[in-house]
């Protein structure tokens, strides 16, 4: 489903190279975890997949279902099924959350040639998804993410993911800022989305989240490259021994 080949990318503003020859393949149905120390390029990778303009790909390519996505803008990538759950979701004053959800869902439907959702059907879907994530509907009447706690923002991201039904989900440090109860709820939300035709990439610092969302593969990112790949036991190994060992081998 996703194939990243020899990717090099830098920050447009100052030219700093962050991704330096990264290779990664994720198949449909797979849950892949990307781990690595601070500054290894994990969040940058998630932004590049979503199409943020602050980064520039200088070499290599990203194939999604066999097609390069480098020329697609963020909206085109999203309507083709790529979803990024942000580490720090933006607060957008003045945009009502419900209005935003409706526009986003209907824009995606439009791009797929489907009719816009009728209001009752839209409301039902939002209510059902919110109930699963133990979210209060009153929260969704507020402006998008404004005044949400860290945990509420993360739940709102997963809510959007459920409603938009993407094919490639990228979760950037979704566990940060969550207490243990919220972590369980969010993990259940993600696990419910596991499907044979869907791939999920979990970017995380800690093994903690992977106790709840068990990955099929684990990849260690360091200095903009995948330096080691393995199965879920690699995550346990990292937890026990730290990154030093793995990084040492790579260096």
């Amino acid at each position: 489903m996703l194939e990243i080949r020899n990717l090099h990318a830098r920050i447009v503003d100052d030219g700093t190279e962050i991704i330096r020859g990264l290779n990664l393949t994720v198949k449909a149905g797979e849950v892949a975890a990307i781990m690595g120390p601070n500054g290894s390029g994990k969040s940058t990778l998630s932004y590049i997949l979503a199409g943020r303009e602050d980064y520039e790909v200088t070499e290599g390519d990203i194939f999604y279902n066999g097609q390069s996505i480098l020329e697609m803008d963020p909206a085109e990538r999203a309507t083709s099924g790529i979803f990024l759950a942000f580490q720090y979701p933006m607060e957008i004053p003045g945009v009502a959350t419900m209005e935003f959800l409706k526009v986003a869902m209907n824009e995606q439907r439009k791009a797929r040639g489907e009719e816009p959702l009728k209001i009752p059907e839209f409301l039902k879907r939002v209510k059902d998804a919110a109930a699963l994530l133990d979210m209060d509907m009153a929260m969704l009447k507020r402006p998008l993410n404004v005044g949400f706690s860290g945990g509420e923002k993360k739940r709102a991201e997963i809510l959007q993911m459920k409603l938009l039904e993407p094919k490639l989900c990228v979760l950037d440090e979704t566990d940060s800022g969550l207490d243990i109860d919220a972590l369980k709820i969010v993990s259940e939300g993600v696990n419910a989305l596991r499907a044979p035709d869907r791939a999920i990439i979990i970017i995380t610092h800690y093994q903690r989240l992977l106790q709840y969302i068990v990955p099929d593969s684990v990849h260690v990112l360091y200095r903009g490259q995948v330096v080691k790949s393995g199965d879920k036991s690699l995550a346990l190994d990292l937890e026990a021994n730290g990154y030093a060992g793995v990084i040492g081998q790579a260096a």
Partner: protein, 422 residues
């Protein structure tokens, strides 16, 4: 020795002076009113204001008013649906009020032409200050409008919409509203039309003790119209006025807001949005006098500028010497969406009291790229996402009004503008 030279009259000045001679016999008014009209046209004869007059710094009316249309008494325009559904509409069509006034308990409505004829409105025709060009233009030519008196203690359950619709040519309209002690009302001042018009419009509002009024100015003139408007209010003891101004049209627009707190505990809120497009000029000028102790005001103006539009906000707050414990806050924020547009802000605080809290701030921004990215990352195309963000920027001010029916009605007007100018 000073040598006074009268500069050569502009075509617009000449046209106004000629029009006055032509119209004089048709204008209603007793002796006092007619004398005030004479004074007013004398003021115009001495010249329209230029940028050398500080309060007209951004709007050099003498230079900008390039032509003056003729009066067209035969032009026809029909009343339109009110902004807030179910409102009582008081129409002024092509400068003429309706002979049928609604019969609502607690409200007395009179045609302004009658108040001019019997002279009872005369004191209200005086200019304020020395550079009151809009007041002078209106006093010289005003023929109609309404006088509305809301009795003490009346609580209106639906808004009143004063609908001033031009049909091209010149219209000069005035409305005077008194809101009695403890009375509560929502009043919409609608300014629209379809012609190459010159409009002067003056609204006078008097709030008695404890009156509570929300006044919404919705200005949607076509881009062929010159719209010169003045809103004047006096706030008595514990009176509360929320003034909302939306400018979403007009070729040359000047909206003056002149507010004075005359009773302790008075509270004034101004919320304004200027939606500016095309090759247009819009000037909102406020003069607020905190004239007694313990009064409060907040002003928030939000502007969206596209095309080659030019916008200006002058906000002057005078805190008089005895007006201790005044609390005044003013903010003007602009979203600049084109390289050719401009918006200038001039806050002026003149404070003679020593125990007050006054502040002002101004920002100019573009669309926040991280917000745009977030929306696009959910599949919303760039144009739609930009539209959402621009609307959000001004919708925040509307939501401050805190009344669902009004918020919804104004957002509909907003959507209309974005549809036409997105």
């Amino acid at each position: 020795m000073n040598i006074h030279t009268t500069p050569q009259r502009t075509p617009a000045e000449t046209a106004l002076i000629d029009a006055f001679s032509d119209r004089l016999s048709l204008l209603p008014g007793d002796g006092t009113v007619m004398l005030k009209r004479d004074d007013a046209i004398e003021a115009i004869k001495s010249g329209l204001p230029t940028r050398r007059i500080e309060s007209w710094h951004y709007t050099d009316l003498r230079r900008l008013l390039t032509s003056v249309p003729d009066f067209d008494p035969t032009a026809v325009v029909k009343a339109i649906a009110p902004v807030v559904e179910g409102s009582t509409v008081l129409p002024v069509l092509n400068g003429v009020s309706s002979t049928k006034v609604p019969d609502i308990e607690g409200i007395a409505v009179q045609r302004l032409s009658e108040k001019l004829t019997d002279g009872s409105i005369a004191p209200g025709l005086d200019p304020y200050g020395t550079d009151d060009a809009i007041g002078a233009l209106n006093t010289a030519f005003v023929a109609d409008g309404y006088f509305v008196d809301i009795a003490d203690g009346t609580e209106l359950d639906k808004p009143i919409e004063l609908q001033n619709l031009q049909a091209g040519g010149q219209t000069h309209v005035r409305v005077a509203v008194r809101v009695g002690a403890g009375a509560k009302a929502v009043i919409v001042e609608r300014q629209a039309g379809e012609g190459a018009a010159l409009v002067s419009s003056v609204s006078q509002l008097l709030l008695d003790e404890g009156a509570d009024v929300t006044w919404l100015i919705v200005q949607e003139q076509p881009d062929t119209a010159t719209h010169l408007a003045q809103f004047k209010a006096h706030l008595g003891k514990n009176a509360k006025l929320t003034l909302f101004v939306m400018n979403a049209g007009g070729k040359l627009v000047r909206q003056e807001i002149v507010v004075r707190t005359t009773g302790e505990g008075a509270d004034f809120t101004l919320r304004g949005i200027n939606l500016l497009a095309g090759d247009t000029h819009t000037d909102v000028t406020m003069v607020l006098d905190h004239a007694v102790p313990h009064t409060a005001s907040t002003e928030v103006i939000r502007n969206v500028v596209t095309g080659k539009a030019r916008g200006f906000f002058q906000g002057r707050i005078n805190v008089h010497q005895y007006a201790q414990k005044t609390n005044a806050k003013m903010a003007c924020n602009t979203l600049l969406l084109s390289d050719d547009g401009e918006f200038s802000t001039k806050p002026e605080l003149e404070i003679f009291a020593d125990d007050v809290v006054c502040g002002h701030g101004a920002t100019v921004t573009e669309i926040d790229h991280s917000h745009l990215f977030y929306l696009m990352a959910r599949g919303i195309d760039e144009k739609t996402a930009r539209g959402l963000l621009v609307k959000a920027f001004v919708a925040e001010v509307i939501e401050d009004l805190d009344d669902e029916a009004i918020v919804e009605a104004l957002e509909t007007r907003l959507d209309g503008w974005f549809l036409a100018h997105g």
